[in-house]
C-alpha cells in the first residue's frame, strides 16, 4: 500500500507543481487560470491519496468554482487576455526567483533536518472521520466555526460594497 501511495503522492505532487509553474509561464490568461485549476485539483487528489476524503472532495469542488470565476475576472481585467502580445509582464524577476528559491530551500532544510518519528497511528475510516469532524465542528470548535462564518459574512458584505459602483445621485 505504501508504495502505491508514495507513487501517487509523487505523481500528483509533481503534477501540482508543474501546473503551478505553467500558471506563471503561459501568456494566455485563460490557460493560466485553467492551469491553476489543474494544480489545485492535483492537490485535492493528494488529499484523497492521504485518506482525507472529505477535505479532498471539498478542495476539488471549491477550486473548480473559484478558478472559473477567476477566469472570468482575468478576461475582464487583463490587458492581453489572449496572450498574443508576447509582452513580459513580470517585474523584479530575479528577486522573486531568489525569494522563491530561498523559501524552498529553507523549508526543505527544516523538513529534512527535523527528526520525524514513527510509527504512524491508524487512520480512521471516512465515515468515522466525518462523524468526528462534525462533532468537533459543532462541539469544541463551535466558536471558531462561528467566527469563521462571521468572517465570511463580513467579507461578503465588504467585497460587495467595494465592488458596487458609486451611485450617481440624480438631482431633478
Amino acid at each position: 500500500m505504501s508504495l502505491a501511495t508514495s507513487f501517487f503522492l509523487v505523481f500528483f505532487g509533481v503534477a501540482a507543481v508543474w501546473f503551478g509553474i505553467v500558471v506563471f509561464r503561459t501568456h494566455s490568461m485563460v490557460r493560466s487560470a485553467i492551469a491553476l485549476l489543474f494544480s489545485q485539483t492535483a492537490i485535492g487528489a493528494m488529499f484523497l491519496v492521504m485518506q482525507a476524503e472529505f477535505l479532498g472532495v471539498l478542495q476539488i469542488m471549491m477550486m473548480a468554482t473559484e478558478m472559473s470565476v477567476m477566469a472570468i475576472f482575468m478576461v475582464m481585467f487583463m490587458m492581453d487576455p489572449g496572450g498574443m502580445g508576447k509582452m513580459d509582464m513580470t517585474h523584479q524577476k530575479r528577486l522573486s526567483l531568489w525569494a522563491g528559491g530561498i523559501g524552498l530551500l529553507a523549508a526543505l532544510v527544516v523538513i529534512l533536518g527535523a527528526g520525524w518519528q514513527g510509527p504512524v497511528p491508524d487512520v480512521p475510516g471516512a465515515d468515522a472521520q466525518a462523524r468526528m469532524l462534525g462533532r468537533e465542528l459543532l462541539g469544541r470548535s463551535m466558536f471558531i466555526f462561528q467566527s469563521a462564518a462571521l468572517m465570511i459574512l463580513t467579507a461578503m458584505i465588504a467585497a460587495t460594497m467595494v465592488a458596487i459602483a458609486p451611485q450617481e445621485r440624480e438631482k431633478p
Binding site: 517585474h91 523584479q92 528577486l95 522573486s96 525569494a99 530561498i102 523559501g103 529553507a106
Partner: protein, 605 residues
C-alpha cells in the same frame, strides 16, 4: 612771612591772572611786579635788621620745601624784583602794539615768580625745580615770535644747551643730598673731601651752561632772537645770573681743585667772550657776549676765593646790563633792527636815552664813582691775592680792557652817523631805563653797608688796584673808540665773529648727536609699536583661525551630520515605493528574519 608770600605769590598770581583773563595785561603785570618788589623790600629790610626768615612747606617725606631769606638770598631777591619791575615798566611801552602781549606778560611774570623761588630756595629740590622752570620760561620767551625765521631753532638750541648742562646740577644735588643726608642747602655745604670736589666740578658744569661760559657761550648769542625786554631781564640780570648765584652760594664748600677750575673757566670766558663782543656786528649780540664776559669775571672772583666780590659785581652788572639792553631796545624801536650798520647815528636822535646808555657803558668799563668801579676793583684785588694770581690776574685785566674796548665801539657807532628821521616819545621805556641807570650810578655807595650785612668785609685794596682798574678801563675805551675792531683783533677777527667754534661747535657736538639720539628713539618706538601691532595681529589671526575652525570643522561636522541624516532618510524613503510587489518582498524578508531569530533562540537564550 607776609613778605615772603608777597615776593613769591604776587608775580605768580598776576601771571596766572594775565594768562587766564587775557585782559589788561599791562596793568596786572605792573601790579604784580610792584607787589613783588614791595615784598622783596620787606625781606631785605628784615634781613638787614638781622632776622633770617625761613619757611618750611611739606612736600616729599624727608624732603620738605624750604625757603630761606637770609642776607645773601634777600639781597638777590631784591635785585631780581627791582630789575623785573623796571623791565616790565619798559615792556609796557615796548610791547604796547604787539597783539600777543598777554602771553608775553603772563610768561614774564611766571618767570619772575620762578626766579624768586630759585633765589629764595633753601633746599636742593626746590632749587632744582626752580632751575628747570626758569629754563622753560626762557625757552617760551626766546621763542615768543615763533613765526619768524630762525626763532624756534634759537629757542630750541638755548633750551638744549642749558638742559645738557643742568645734568651737572642734578648729579651734584643728589650727591650732596646723599652725602649729607638732608636736602637743606646750608647743611650740605659742610661736605668735604672727594664728594665736595666732584660736586663742585658738577656745579661748575651747570653754571657754565646757565651763565654762558666757555664752551657753552653760543646759546646766549642766539637767544637775542627774542624780544628786547626778555634779553634785558633774563639774559643779563637774572637767568644767566643763576649760574653765578649757584657758585656763590656753594662757595664755602668748594675745595681748592674746584676753585682752580672755576677761576680758569671764568678767566678764559672773560677774554674769549670779550673778543667775540668786539667782533660782533649786532648790538644785542655784542651785549650778549659782554654778559658772558662779565660773568666770567665773576667766576674769577669766586675762583679766587672771594665770593662777595662776585656778588657785588653781579648786583652792579644787573643794573648796568639791563639798562644797556633797554637802551638798545629803544634804538631798535627807532631803526627796526639791531644791526650795527643800521644803528649808526641812532644815538644822536635821542640824546636822553643815549646819555643814559653812555653812562652805564662807562660804568661797565669801570669808571668811578659808579658801581662797577668798586666791584671790578674787588675782583682784581681778589685775583691778585689768590694763590693762582699768575694767570687769574692777567685774564681779568685783559677782560677789563676788552670791556672798555667794545663799549667804546658801541658808543662810537651809535654816535657817529646820520640821524634825520623823526622819533616819537617813549615815556614808559625811558622811565624804566632811567631808574636802572640811576641805580647803576649810585649803587656803589651802598656796597659797604651791604658787606656789613653779609658779614664779609672786603679788605681795603692797595692803591695799585684801583689804579690798574682805572688804567685798563681807560686804555680799553680809547682803543675801542679810536681803532676799528678788525685792525684791533687782527687774525682773531674771523674766529671771533664766528664765536670761536671748535670742531663745529655745540651744533655738531651736542645738538646733532642729541637730535640723532632722539630720532633713533623715535624709530625704536615705531618698531615697538609695530611689534605690539604684530602681536595684536597674531592674536587677531588666532581669533580668525579659531573662528574658521569653529565654522569649518565643527559646523561642518554638525551640518554634515544633519545632511547625512537627511540623505539617510531620503534613502530610507525608497523603501516606501508604493508598489505592492516591493511591499510583499519586504514582508517576506521580514518574516524570514523573524523566523530566523526565533529558530536561533537556543543559541542566545
Amino acid at each position: 612771612m607776609i613778605w615772603l608770600a608777597l615776593t613769591l605769590l604776587a608775580p605768580l598770581g598776576a601771571g596766572l591772572a594775565v594768562i587766564a583773563l587775557r585782559r589788561a595785561p599791562i596793568a596786572l603785570s605792573l601790579a604784580g611786579a610792584g607787589l613783588g618788589l614791595l615784598g622783596a623790600l620787606g625781606l631785605f629790610a628784615g634781613a638787614a635788621g638781622g632776622t633770617e626768615i625761613t619757611a618750611t612747606l611739606p612736600f616729599l617725606p624727608d624732603l620738605p620745601i624750604r625757603l630761606l631769606a637770609g642776607p645773601l638770598t634777600a639781597t638777590l631777591a631784591l635785585v631780581v624784583a627791582t630789575v623785573a619791575a623796571m623791565v616790565l615798566l619798559y615792556a609796557a611801552g615796548y610791547m604796547a602794539h604787539d597783539p600777543e602781549r598777554a602771553r608775553f606778560f603772563g610768561t614774564m611774570l611766571m618767570f619772575v615768580a620762578a626766579m624768586e623761588l630759585l633765589v629764595l630756595s633753601g633746599d636742593w629740590i626746590t632749587l632744582l625745580a626752580a632751575w628747570e622752570m626758569i629754563g622753560f620760561a626762557s625757552y617760551l620767551l626766546i621763542g615768543f615770535w615763533h613765526g619768524r625765521d630762525g626763532v624756534p631753532g634759537a629757542a630750541t638750541r638755548a633750551f638744549l644747551y642749558t638742559r645738557t648742562a643742568d645734568l651737572g646740577l642734578y648729579i651734584a644735588a643728589f650727591l650732596l643730598i646723599g652725602v649729607a643726608g638732608t636736602s637743606e642747602i646750608s647743611a650740605t655745604l659742610s661736605t668735604t673731601g672727594t664728594p665736595a670736589l666732584i660736586a663742585g666740578l658738577l656745579l661748575l658744569f651747570a653754571a657754565m651752561g646757565k651763565s654762558a661760559q666757555v664752551p657753552m657761550q653760543d646759546w646766549l648769542m642766539r637767544a637775542m632772537a627774542g624780544p628786547t625786554p626778555v634779553s634785558a631781564l633774563l639774559h643779563s640780570a637774572t637767568l644767566v645770573a643763576a649760574g653765578a648765584i649757584l657758585l656763590i652760594r656753594a662757595a664755602p664748600m668748594l675745595p681748592g681743585g674746584a676753585l682752580v677750575a672755576v677761576g680758569l673757566v671764568g678767566g678764559v670766558t672773560a677774554v674769549v667772550a670779550g673778543l667775540m663782543a668786539l667782533a660782533a656786528r649786532d648790538l644785542k649780540r655784542l651785549l650778549a657776549a659782554s654778559t658772558a664776559s662779565q660773568y666770567g669775571l665773576m667766576l674769577v672772583a669766586v675762583g679766587a676765593g672771594v665770593p662777595v666780590a662776585a656778588l657785588l659785581h653781579l648786583i652792579a652788572h644787573a643794573a648796568i646790563k639791563s639798562a644797556l639792553f633797554l637802551g638798545a631796545g629803544v634804538f631798535q624801536h627807532d631803526r627796526e633792527s639791531t644791526d650795527l650798520d643800521a644803528l649808526a647815528g641812532a644815538g644822536r636822535a635821542r640824546p636822553g636815552i643815549f646819555a643814559g646808555f653812555a653812562l652805564v657803558a662807562l660804568a661797565l668799563a669801570g669808571l668811578p664813582p659808579m658801581a662797577a668801579f668798586f666791584s671790578k676793583d674787588a675782583i682784581l684785588a681778589a685775583a691778585l691775592d689768590s694763590p693762582f694770581a699768575s694767570w687769574l690776574l692777567p685774564l681779568a685785566l685783559l677782560g677789563s680792557v676788552l670791556t672798555g674796548a667794545y663799549m667804546a665801539r658801541a658808543l662810537k657807532v651809535l654816535w657817529t652817523g646820520k640821524s634825520d628821521r623823526p622819533v616819537d616819545a617813549v615815556p614808559l621805556m625811558a622811565a624804566g631805563m632811567g631808574v636802572l641807570v640811576a641805580l647803576a650810578a649810585v649803587l656803589g655807595f651802598g656796597f659797604k653797608p651791604l658787606e656789613a650785612m653779609l658779614g664779609a668785609h672786603l679788605p681795603e685794596p692797595a692803591w695799585i688796584i684801583p689804579a690798574m682798574g682805572l688804567a685798563v678801563g681807560l686804555v680799553g675805551l680809547a682803543l675801542g673808540w679810536a681803532v676799528a675792531p678788525d685792525r684791533l683783533l687782527g687774525p682773531l677777527l674771523g674766529p671771533a665773529s664766528r664765536g670761536f667754534e671748535i670742531a663745529g661747535g655745540m651744533q655738531a657736538q651736542v645738538a646733532r648727536p642729541a637730535l640723532a639720539l632722539a630720532d633713533a628713539c623715535e624709530r625704536f618706538e615705531q618698531w615697538l609699536l609695530a611689534a605690539v601691532l604684530a602681536v595684536g595681529r597674531i592674536n587677531l589671526s588666532l581669533g580668525v583661525g579659531a573662528r574658521r575652525t569653529d565654522r569649518d570643522m565643527i559646523d561642518r561636522a554638525i551640518f554634515g551630520l544633519v545632511d547625512r541624516a537627511i540623505a539617510l532618510g531620503a534613502r530610507a524613503r525608497r523603501l516606501q515605493s508604493g508598489f505592492i510587489h516591493r511591499e510583499m518582498a519586504l514582508t517576506f524578508a521580514g518574516i524570514a528574519l523573524v523566523i530566523g531569530v526565533l529558530l536561533a533562540a537556543p543559541i542566545y537564550l
